[in-house]
């Protein structure tokens, strides 16, 4: 990688608001002229990261360099970048011309040059003849164009866009996406784009940075991110997918949904638990069992415009989502197969919960900020620091939070074909992973119960 090609470099950047860690050790670089997108659900820290680059916030730690120079402490008005704000932030007391000319006038650009540049940029955003209009009289899409024009007229080295299309309706959004992409090509400016819309990110970007809970989940091209998600969050967030528990039997051989499949992944080792991702459009479905790898029964079939979306229960009781151009009758038996190249195998981040804790007596342990009963373990006495291992399916979730020592907020739900895999966050910020057959909703408050016999205690 040639260092001259890098325009912005972010190293070990962290940021907290009060107790809440919004960004946790972010490392990434932005290449000159590329279209890079920060993608993630709301609250993942993407806008905070953008505001750090713009200079509206200061990082708690880490460095941000622009063209090799540390920009820490440089106020926003001295940075060679411009922002397109989410709600446009066009000045209501100025007309279109004065809004666009605002930055140029501050830089004492001669009057005739200002006029020429404003007219040129208005043409670029297809808003000629609008210069005398009051900004409040413009539609959302028009205001959006003026906001973009106001930013690019200053010829910034980097253009920051904070969910610029979020307020537009679907049709308008699609049109603006194409225009943005063309503008990027024409101008040659680096675009840093923030969005929660994965489709928008896939359409526009050269590079996508997927963020969740303040951490980078994956950086890659849109095709990389879609075809080879590195973890279950990315797989779930980008596009539709079937995410399943599997076992890597040997190189190029993986087992899931009770069947063995050939795949193209190697180097995981033998008999290692893994997560397997199969996109719904990559499962081939047919009315015969000849040539099929496994069979199943169609449970539902919904027309989605381009394709039909079907839910199929496989012979071993797993539910799969399948998309196909043909409809298959509900209740009919179908055969299915998946090509080796369409099976994406991911390393599991962990296979069981491991909580750090302290023994408060011989049969109680403090974990997750609360006291839990635990089995007496030989060689472990009071005040020992211990690791408590609990399998995902041994975490009991209760409706009433008062029935268990600790409670938490369901923050992430993943359907794994035959069970739900939940991430629960306690008020103190501990993460608990639980497998369950019960249906919970995001942000449900649940009691976390763990039976003593399900704990495996080892000395830390």
């Amino acid at each position: 990688m040639n260092r001259d090609d890098i325009i912005i470099n972010i190293e070990h950047v962290s940021k907290s608001f009060g107790d809440k860690k919004v960004l946790d050790d972010i490392n990434l670089y932005v290449k000159k002229g590329e279209f890079i997108t920060f993608l993630g659900p709301s609250g993942c820290g993407k806008t905070t990261l953008l505001r750090l680059i713009a200079g509206f916030l200061d990082a708690d730690s880490g460095t941000i360099t622009m063209e090799g120079k540390d920009i820490d402490g440089i106020p926003p008005y001295m940075r060679p970048l411009n922002t397109v704000f989410q709600r446009y932030a066009l000045f209501p007391h100025l007309d279109v011309y004065d809004n666009i000319a605002f930055g140029l006038k501050l830089n004492n650009v001669p009057e005739d040059e200002i006029e020429a540049r404003v007219m040129k940029v208005l043409k670029l955003v297809s808003m000629n003849d609008y210069e005398d209009r009051d900004v409040n009289s413009l539609s959302g899409g028009q205001q959006q164009r003026i906001a973009i024009a106001r930013a690019i007229v200053n010829r910034p080295k980097v253009l920051l866009l904070d969910e610029p299309l979020a307020a537009l309706d679907l049709k308008m959004r699609k049109d603006m996406q194409i225009e943005l992409k063309e503008m990027h090509k024409k101008l040659g400016i680096t675009f840093i784009y923030v969005t929660h819309d994965q489709e928008e990110a896939l359409t526009l970007s050269d590079t996508i940075v997927v963020l969740n809970e303040g951490r980078i989940q994956q950086i890659g091209t849109p095709t990389d991110i879609y075809n080879e998600p590195q973890n279950e969050f990315v797989a779930d967030f980008i596009g539709e997918s079937n995410i399943l528990n599997g076992t890597m039997i040997a190189d190029k051989k993986v087992s899931f949904i009770g069947h063995e499949f050939e795949c193209v992944d190697e180097g995981f080792g033998e008999n290692v638990p893994v997560d397997v991702v199969v996109r719904p459009e990559d499962i081939y479905i047919m009315n015969q069992l000849k040539g099929a790898q496994f069979s199943g029964e169609v449970k539902s079939c919904i027309f989605k415009g381009v394709h039909y979306e079907m839910t199929v229960e496989t012979d071993n009781g797993f539910e799969l989502m399948i998309q196909d151009y043909n409809a298959f009758e509900v209740g009919s038996t179908v055969g299915m197969f998946v090509k080796p190249v369409d099976i994406q195998v991911m390393k599991k981040a962990c296979t069981a919960n491991v909580f750090k804790g302290v023994m408060t007596s011989l049969n109680t342990v403090e974990i997750l900020g609360c006291e839990y009963e635990c089995p007496e373990t030989p060689g472990i006495s009071k005040d020992d620091e211990v690791n408590v291992e609990v399998d995902f399916d041994k975490v009991d979730l209760l409706d009433n939070k008062d029935d268990a020592p600790q409670f938490g907020n369901v923050s992430f739900i993943l359907y794994k074909g035959d069970r739900y895999h939940l991430t629960i966050v306690t008020p103190e910020g501990y993460h608990v992973l639980a497998d369950t057959h019960d249906v919970w909703d995001k942000n449900d408050i649940v009691g976390i119960k763990i039976l003593p016999q399900d704990m495996k205690i080892t000395k830390a």
């Binding site: 713009a54 509206f56 106020p75 926003p76 008005y77 411009n82 922002t83 704000f85 989410q86 709600r87 932030a89 066009l90 000045f91 209501p92 007391h93 605002f102 930055g103 501050l106 830089n107 106001r150 930013a151 200053n154």
Partner: protein, 256 residues
């Protein structure tokens, strides 16, 4: 029952307590007290040097009061509206707390303090009392506008190369002018027409227009008093009209 009939009680109230008194003021202003119609009550306004003099003094005091209120009130409102300095809405409420105390009591207490401190009552003490009385009316409309203003305007200005000072001058200040205008309207005209404050804080040395009107009524000169009130009404009407006109659509500064 039709929805529009709900308005009947309010219409009656308006007729009795707003329209009728206004009409009476006009009728009295143009009558000579013996059933005849005259404009002499109005012409005395321009010919009596005492009346026109106090009117001009009133305008001067009101102008000074308004300017001082803006100079003090704007920074206060700005700080109150800035979440960095003021983290609770209660602080803003504290600034209108003095309004809960009877204005007459406040003014008399102020006068006592001046007496105790040995400061002679006069124009200075009058202005002080006026500012003290009317400052909340200036702070609140400005605070309201600043508080509701989208912070991204200032960020956008800074993003486009404006220093914090320039951003204030080119964006925050022009956008908060409707609040300043509302505040000025709520300070200026009441100052002209007030009488208790000037009587107490200047020991009747300075007579404002309100005092002159009050004096006319006290001396049972109903028609002359009504005529002067009528002049006041017209001036208030003009300022409201001008104010509303320049405010256009989204001022929203008035709190009352």
């Amino acid at each position: 029952m039709k929805r529009s009939s709900w308005a009947i009680p309010y219409s009656i109230f308006l007729m009795l307590f707003v329209v009728l008194p206004l009409v009476l003021v006009a009728v009295y202003a143009f009558s000579d007290g013996h059933g005849g119609v005259t404009i002499s009550n109005l012409t005395t306004f321009f010919t009596d040097p005492k009346i026109i003099g106090s009117f001009l003094v009133s305008l001067e005091v009101a102008l000074e009061n308004t300017l001082i209120c803006i100079l003090i009130g704007y920074p206060v409102a700005y700080i109150l509206a800035d979440k960095k300095y003021n983290k609770s809405a209660t602080t803003a409420m504290l600034f209108i707390a003095p309004m809960a105390i009877n204005a007459l009591m406040r003014t008399m207490a102020t006068a006592e303090i001046f007496n105790m401190a040995g400061i002679p009552l006069g124009k200075g003490t009058l202005i002080f009392g006026m500012v003290y009385d009317y400052l909340p009316f200036m702070i609140f409309p400005i605070y309201n506008v600043l508080d509701k203003m989208d912070k991204s305007y200032v960020e956008a200005a800074q993003d486009l190369g404006a220093s914090p000072m320039t951003a204030f001058r080119k964006v925050t200040l022009p956008l908060s002018l409707p609040g300043v205008l509302s505040g000025a309207m709520m300070v200026f005209m009441p100052t002209v027409s007030t009488f208790a404050v000037s009587e107490i804080l200047t020991n009747n040395r300075i007579m404002l227009f309100g005092s002159v009107i009050n004096e006319q009524f006290n001396n049972l000169m109903w028609n002359q008093g009504a005529a002067l009130s009528f002049v006041m009404l017209i001036i208030i009407g003009i300022t409201m009209f001008v104010g509303n006109d320049s405010k256009e659509e989204d001022a929203g500064g008035l709190v009352l």
